[in-house]
């Protein structure tokens, strides 16, 4: 599963997307967050929300293969 990164998160990791193997432990957005924080030390403590298919997701929203997943750091438009 490909995960899009933006702004400070992309800079922290040094790339604008990362890949995560999906499985039994990544059924929800909350699961994904745990896996990402474990798998990418640069993101362990960064504040972000997860968006699934371009919509902010709650922790128990399901994530399935093929979903567009993104990490959204605190926004600062305007």
């Amino acid at each position: 599963m490909r995960i899009l990164l933006f702004a400070g998160l992309a800079e922290a990791v040094g790339q604008s997307q990362v890949d995560l193997v999906q499985g039994a432990s990544t059924q929800t957005a909350g699961d994904l967050e745990v896996r990402i924080r474990e798998g990418y030390p640069d993101l362990a403590k960064s504040p972000f929300r997860i968006a699934v298919n371009r919509v902010y997701a709650e922790a128990n929203d399901p994530v399935v293969d093929g979903d567009e997943v993104a990490l959204i750091p605190p926004v600062s438009g305007g």
Partner: protein, 136 residues
């Protein structure tokens, strides 16, 4: 008009897009790149967006405003890419019969844009840069 664009924003164009013969009041908000922040001189700002989601969030917010039946027109335009000091980063225009609704909807819209829409700015100074995280 719901736009995320790299070209300069024309406030007149944003405003014109909401004008309605029944509208007695229009409110336009412009967010502009300030020459300094916390006393440091700004060289330029780099704006980045998660484009598809930002567009979809803007459309959703505009729908919410239009759902309130006292607003006759609303437009929002956000610029991304590199902006110089003094350039317009965002414009919101609202038309309504009377001014309370126009002020209220314009303020609500820009507040929501800054709270929800996945756009980020990086302030670039002579001696470094940083992503902005506060909501001023």
């Amino acid at each position: 008009m719901i736009d995320i664009q790299t070209e300069p924003i024309d406030p007149e164009e944003v405003l014109s897009s909401v004008v309605n013969p029944l509208g007695g009041a229009e409110v336009l908000f412009l967010g502009r790149v300030r020459s300094e922040t916390d006393g440091r001189e700004v060289v330029h700002l780099d704006y980045e967006a998660y484009g598809d989601m930002a567009q979809s969030e803007l459309e959703d917010l505009v729908q919410q405003v239009r759902g309130a039946n006292d607003v006759l027109g609303i437009a929002v335009s956000h610029r991304i890419g590199r902006l110089k000091v003094g350039e317009i980063a965002v414009a919101v225009a609202v038309s309504a019969e009377h001014r309370p609704e126009a002020f209220r909807a314009c303020r609500w819209m820009i507040d929501k844009v800054k709270e929800r829409v996945p756009i980020w700015k990086k302030e670039c100074f002579e001696d470094g840069s940083k992503w902005v995280v506060e909501h001023p």
